[in-house]
């Protein structure tokens, strides 16, 4: 179309697009690309936060990282958190969606109750839950002692602290998965159920023969999104247990944070960041494979 236009015009035509993408690209380059590249660069130096006398170390940071037991234990904590939190965050969300898929006032109230915690900041959530877990007069221990059970110092006991964080996380974030399931449920055409009614299907049969099979793809999507989100755990643990007791809950991002901002070892923190980045990329690629592979059997 524009072949015959004068050359001045076509020059403008060719470059006008950059005007639209320019502002975003500038910010993208400065606040995403550059730190991504400089992080990798730093991982080969013994950079400190002050930025003075950089010394090239080659792969020394990386070698140190693979030999550092704190890297492995915080990675293990991250994986334990992911393994403990993902199943309830998927299953409870599904149950909630099945229960709240209704119109009217009750539907509105249920959608409010189930999703409300999700809109709260991490700090609000953890202040409330630290108080709930408080020994002596917190809600949980208050109920335990009232029922004649022994108190548990949830956040200061090694094999209870992670469970406590998981319970808090499920309460806080399950609402998002709930809404994803709800949208999927509302996408199932009403006629499918009407046809089942004509065939005399019971509620139970409709649930197990129609609803759940049709939600299979949504479940896979939610599970993978949740997996990636859980791997990025930091806020709740930092705020509730500060990684304790005895580092039993410290996740990998907190270890990165400590190396960078407490020990001022930018180079070392960058190397660990990149290992974590690699894990996230692998999970994301698997996710892509999973979804591009399973498309045909769901349609």
């Amino acid at each position: 179309m524009s072949v015959q236009m004068p050359s001045r015009q076509s020059w403008r035509e060719r470059w006008a697009g950059l005007f639209f993408v320019g502002p975003f690209l500038l910010l993208f380059a400065v606040f995403l690309l550059w730190p991504t590249v400089s992080g990798l660069w730093n991982s080969f130096f013994n950079t400190s936060l002050a930025g003075v006398d950089q010394e090239f170390l080659g792969l020394q940071n990386w070698r140190e990282m693979f030999a550092d037991s704190a890297v492995w234990s915080s990675l293990k904590n991250t994986l334990i958190f992911t393994a403990m939190s993902t199943p309830p965050l998927v299953v409870i969300a599904l149950v909630m969606a099945l229960l709240a898929n209704r119109t009217g006032v009750l539907g509105w109230l249920l959608r409010f109750a189930y999703f409300a915690p999700f809109v709260l900041p991490a700090t609000v959530v953890t202040l409330i839950w630290v108080w709930i877990y408080e020994p002596g007069f917190g809600l949980v221990n208050g109920l335990l002692t009232a029922g004649g059970f022994a108190e548990i110092d949830w956040l200061n006991t090694e094999n209870r602290a992670m469970l406590a964080v998981v319970i808090t996380t499920v309460w806080w974030t399950v609402g998002f998965n709930f809404l994803l399931y709800l949208a999927a449920l509302q996408g199932i055409p009403e006629q499918v159920y009407e046809a089942a009614d004509i065939d005399g299907a019971s509620e139970r049969q409709k649930l197990f023969r129609i609803t759940l099979p049709l939600l299979r793809r949504t479940t896979a999507l939610i599970a993978v999104l949740q997996l990636v989100a859980s791997l990025k755990i930091f806020d709740q643990i930092y705020l509730m247990t500060n990684g304790g007791p005895n580092y039993a809950t410290r996740p990998i991002i907190q270890y990165i944070y400590q190396n960078g901002f407490t020990n001022y070892r930018i180079g070392y923190a960058s190397a660990i960041s990149y290992m974590f980045f690699a894990i996230i990329v692998v999970v994301a690629v698997l996710q892509f494979k999973l979804f591009s592979g399973s498309k045909e059997d769901s349609a």
Binding site: V21, P23, L27, N42, P121, A122, L180, F261
Partner: protein
């Protein structure tokens, strides 16, 4: 067709209501605590409801003023992040969807790859960069990294791709520039998705903890999530005050959600279908 009350229906409604109450208990417990006089909060056995409700905790929090300061900071940051993200992302999505320029495909590929980079991985180099730019403890320092949302550019570009070109051709015949086409054709046609994207950007900016926590050291520059993180230490064990600040800190978004529930629910659905 009148719906009849069969047993499964009643059981579902009751089960749903019970789960709803369980989900609200932590918030109600925080509310109850915040209305107690301090000595009652640490009494054993616990009392479910305050014996003599008082707003003392709220009064002393608000008199102290920190929370109000953080509220102002959070509002400025979240509103500006939302406006700037929408502006920059709409323009970029339009550019990638409707214009041609050298390297467009390659650059768009780079932007899509940027979706993969978790912000948590960037905290250390980004803080270094902010120190260099002198943006530590400033609104710009808190905001700018949050404005870069490649996933939003991706989602909007796909949406724009689906809008028929007939509309803009008609506008062009009427002499509209591309700039006009963005604002009077593309934006009005994508209002629902822009509202959804806007609400989620706002919630995300309001609740963001890690980055504002790292880039602010001056308490007067902190946002609500960051400021509240220090509350436990500074109030000691005054639980009624801690719960009052937590609830006041969470209230703005609870109100936003109550008002925009329909848009939020649909927005998550749209995001899920696209994801």
């Amino acid at each position: 067709m009148r719906s009849t009350w069969t047993f499964p229906k009643v059981a579902t409604a009751v089960g749903a209501a019970i789960l709803g109450v369980i989900w609200l208990i932590p918030l109600l417990w925080a509310l109850s605590t915040s209305l107690k006089p301090e000595p009652e909060t640490t009494r054993s056995p616990i009392t479910w409801l305050p014996e003599a409700p008082t707003a003392d905790a709220y009064r002393s929090i608000l008199e102290q003023g920190d929370l109000i300061r953080w509220f102002v900071n959070s509002s400025v940051v979240s509103v500006l992040v939302t406006v700037l993200t929408l502006l920059v992302s709409v323009l970029a999505a339009f550019g990638f969807s409707r214009t041609e320029f050298p390297g467009r495909r390659l650059i768009f590929g780079l932007v899509v790859a940027g979706i993969l980079v978790p912000p948590q991985v960037l905290i250390v180099p980004l803080f270094q960069e902010m120190t260099g730019l002198g943006l530590v403890d400033t609104y710009w320092g808190i905001m700018l990294p949050q404005v870069v949302a490649p996933v939003m550019v991706f989602v909007l570009k796909k949406f724009f791709d689906g809008i028929s070109r007939d509309y803009e051709d008609a506008a062009r015949v009427d002499g509209a520039s591309r700039w006009r086409i963005v604002w009077s054709v593309m934006v009005p046609m994508s209002r629902p998705i822009l509202v959804a994207v806007g609400i989620f950007t706002f919630i995300g900016a309001w609740n963001n903890f890690l980055w504002p926590f790292i880039v602010t050291t001056d308490p007067s520059m902190m946002t609500i999530p960051v400021g509240l993180a220090n509350v436990q230490g500074s109030y000691g064990l005054r639980y009624a005050q801690i719960m009052a600040s937590a609830l006041l800190g969470g209230l703005p978004l609870l109100i936003v959600y109550a008002l925009f529930q329909r848009q939020v629910v649909r927005g998550v659905g749209d995001a899920g279908i696209k994801g």
